[in-house]
């Protein structure tokens, strides 16, 4: 099994079939095309997306339905093409695609990018960060709105 040196997890073993292929990279990281999903039982349901090409590059994500159980996925045609998914029909979260919200850690608390979920075709592992310009979703959706926040 191939192994990968990472800044966050040390050495990670992975199977080549588990790799997510981003033919266009991600916005801001257009040259980073291959990521390995890393799940640590202690930090479930968080899923880390570890770059195969840059040991220090790692995104922290959550399944989009954990963030918003009624999330509506709307993928534009160019992104469907990247996923090699037939045009005119949206894939279903969980059945056809894995849909992940990228987290970012602001001083005010963690936020999830619902404007542009990472979508992975479960059949071929082709992946894209699908910007949904016509949705009302925020790129900084607060995971724990202020009232509900548990302050330490």
């Amino acid at each position: 099994m191939p192994e990968l040196q990472t800044t966050n997890f040390g050495t990670v073993a992975f199977t080549p079939e588990s790799v997510f292929e981003f033919p266009r990279g991600l916005p801001g990281f257009e040259e980073r095309r291959r990521f390995v999903p890393v799940q640590n039982p202690a930090s479930a349901p968080i899923l880390f997306l570890q770059s195969l090409e840059e040991p220090s590059l790692c995104f922290v994500t959550l399944p989009v339905l954990v963030v918003d159980p009624v999330y509506r996925l709307r993928i534009l045609e160019p992104d469907l093409e990247i996923l090699q998914w037939k045009a005119g029909c949206q894939p279903r979260i969980g059945e056809d695609v894995l849909c992940l919200a990228v987290l970012s850690f602001q001083p005010s608390g963690p936020t999830a990018n619902l404007l542009a979920p990472v979508v992975v075709n479960l059949r071929n592992h082709q992946a894209v960060q699908a910007v949904a310009p016509e949705s009302d979703y925020s790129h900084q959706h607060a995971l724990f709105p202020r009232e509900a926040a548990v302050c330490s």
Binding site: I46, L103, V131
Partner: protein, 97 residues
Amino acid sequence: MLMMSRRQGETILIGDEIEIVIAHIGRSRVKVGIRAPRQTPVIAQEVKLVSEENRAAAQAPPPAVLRALVAQLQPAAHTLRPPSDEGSVRQDAGTKT
């Protein structure tokens, strides 16, 4: 902001090198053609937002921050729908050293 009314097929010029054509007007969206020098980046505003957000998100947070997040997620993950249907992809557990 300068506002201009244009019909389908009409063009706006910005300086000598940038040309914007209103290619098609639909019910709720317009298709715009843009001709600009190669070195002028042209992207949708959302893509820039996502790009900045990705840069901010690109490093895993300190373990303590992550632990706090997981602790906060636990009750939520039980009351909300569990991500069981997201688990069908095979994932390799990371080994923390």
